[in-house]
Amino acid sequence: MIEVKQISKTFKKNMQSFYALKEISFILERGSTCGLIGLNGAGKTTLLRLLSGIFQCTDGEISYDELSITDFKRQNPYQIAYLSNDTQVYQRLTIREYLQFFSRIRQVPKNLFEQKLLYYSQRLKIENELNTLLENTSTGTRQKAAFLSVIMNHPTYLFLDEPFANIDILIAEEMLSILKQLKAEGTAIMISSHNLYEIESISDQILLLEEGNIRLNCQMEDLQNRFPQQSLKEIILHLMNEQKADDQDECNLANSV
């Protein structure tokens, strides 16, 4: 379980610091999936980077199974995986070598690696390209390889930033089913995506970020109960428009005063 308590993150830009995230708290359970939604610049990537330990919080703390990130990583090495939104793979390795690199870092036995490689490459339909250099493959294949590099060794916590970009619908379905499988094995997953359809079909929890603050944090079921018969896209649009209207009201109020 990841417990996020009152975290903030500031960046400096032209000598002025601004909040990328401001006092955010939420809980992510093992075996559940959280969909991270927000406009561009809402702080999604920053949040994922904080969770995966690449960035450090300016304020607040994140605990992983009630441990700090350093302790957690020491006790459970290689259990946190992060896929950044525009990961370009190592161009001069073949897909097999690329995946092997990450498996070797994690010290996965060789035959286990081969089994998994065969299994997952067949599912994502890249079994024929395993020995092609990545620089000679299509963008979609590279995205698949990057995806495989993080999920193949079943991490405990998985953070995916736009994993479905450049992916066709069939493979996206396959990826979703792989993620569901991981979820069933107890992996906690957080996905940021602009593809609300994918988010909707996998998430148990929705986190809507707006300018570094949490706009909405609720279970998928609750949301569907509140807005029956509506897709996630419609719900989100509805919420956004509501916000706009509120802003407009405030604006009008200010003008009248």
Partner: protein, 607 residues
Amino acid sequence: MNVIWQILFKDIKEIFRNKRALISGLLLPALFIPLLVYFQPYLNSAPESPDIHIALYDYRINQDSLAFVKALKSNDHLTVHRYHQNYKEANDKKNDLNIIIHQDSLRQNYLKVFYNSASSKSLKAFEYVSQIIFNNEINHIRANISDLNETESETTLPHDKKSPFSMYPWIFLMFGFSGAAFVASEIITGEKERHTLETLLSLLNDSQRILKAKYAGVLVFSLTNFLLNLLIMLISIFYFQGDISIHLFKESLLLFVAITPALFLLSAILLHIALNARTIHEARSIESVFFLIFSALIVSVSFVDINHSIIFQMLPFINTVLIIQTMSVSILSVLLLILSCFVPVFFIIKYNLQFIRQEKVLNTVASPTSSNHLTLPLLITAAIFLMLSRFSPLLIQVNYGNGILLSQLIFFFIPSLILIAFQRNKTKWMLFKKVPDIKTIISSIVITVLLFIVVNYYQQFVNSLFSRSVGTDQVKTPEYGIGYSLFLLCLIPAIAEEFFFRGWLFSKWFQKNDKAGIIASALIFAMFHQNYPEFLGLFILGIWFAYQVYLYHSIWPAVISHFVNNALVIWISRTHLNYHTHHSVGFTAFIVLIMLFKMIKPKTQPF
């Protein structure tokens, strides 16, 4: 350890599939070194010809000895110096003398010959002298020969023992660098640019291992490159010069000892450059600038006869060059070599560890908006400073007026326009486009006048320390007409210097940090005038000019202020006013100035 190995192994695999890395690392030395070895005999022959100096001490002439001296003098290569009980003079010239001949005071036909077998010139001199001695015509002369190399340390006579490597201490360093430079930008900056570094950072517990692996990668390639160069050189020496002896292998070993620590340092520098650069492109351009400066330094150090002072040897790379040049090591020089190389390595690694831990390494990728780097402006400024201090006096000597005009144009005006034009920033001409209003101009002029009084009041005190007179010697001008003086000494410098220091340099710096930008540009501005007694005054002026640019978002108030300031200097120097001596004037100006500064507030948001 496993992680370091895996990353290293992966990097090596990637690089070996990269044609360009292989070409820059392998093909270039393979082409260049054989050529160098082939032409070495021709290069070597040049310093062979100069004459050899022979010292004759207390030499008395009899029939036999006169014949000997004549024989010495008849040889074109030899220059004979005679010293009669004037050891001091001889001692002064000790390093120029290649062979010393001392006559026995009792038996005049007995000579003591001192030479140094470690010096090729001395050896040559000994060959000539012994030829003459053993010549039949002078058969009464007997010689007692001693080799100084066995008794004295090698510092008494310059070393120029022929080793095929001693010619090129620089080449191994340079190729060691160039072979690894491409690799560094590829495996370090490349990893940043492709965002794979983030995957690794999230996966691993500590970033230290990533840094170690990357450092090892650069080091492996730089060492491999060096060893390969050495191999190519040995092969080409064998092929072109035919002699490959056990001696050569000993020297190769020495070369290895001398070069390896230097390569550790070079790899660390490369690691630093590559890790701090945002893109591969940026890393390569900084690397190539560094490479040019580094090779210029190393080549020049290799050709200059370096003295062996400890302080000099504390500098990195110097010991490497010294050891290769002399082909000899002492415990001290090895110790200094290791210290001078590994201490900087330690600090560079420590700094970068901090850098990678403090997530700055990703911040640079995350926020590409502030894409300005300070190293390049600093290097360009340093280069212009060097050129200015070298050539400007020459220009001014020839013709004062044209000299000033030319140096202002060449060193400030034209470079500033070119440098600004090459910026990718869309708002690069913003400072020039904005015209200040009349109020701004008036306040600028008033403050400049007050500042001028205050600075001169202070300057008078400093000048009393340097026993200089005030004002009159600030500008030693030929008496031009007032119009031409204003044009030449006020308008041109005001425009050219403001364009350079404020329009380009300051605007480049403040994007990073405005306060530091103002201070740094003012410091450089003061330094450029090379007038050290007036340094502080110039520095304050520089701050004022830069502050105006910062305040008004326009270069023109600064240009006007600069013009006013220069005009005041000329006016004072012509009229010989000495108001500065009055404390009341200085103090009043100071107080009014402070009040005015409190009053002006930026109307718009400063940058």
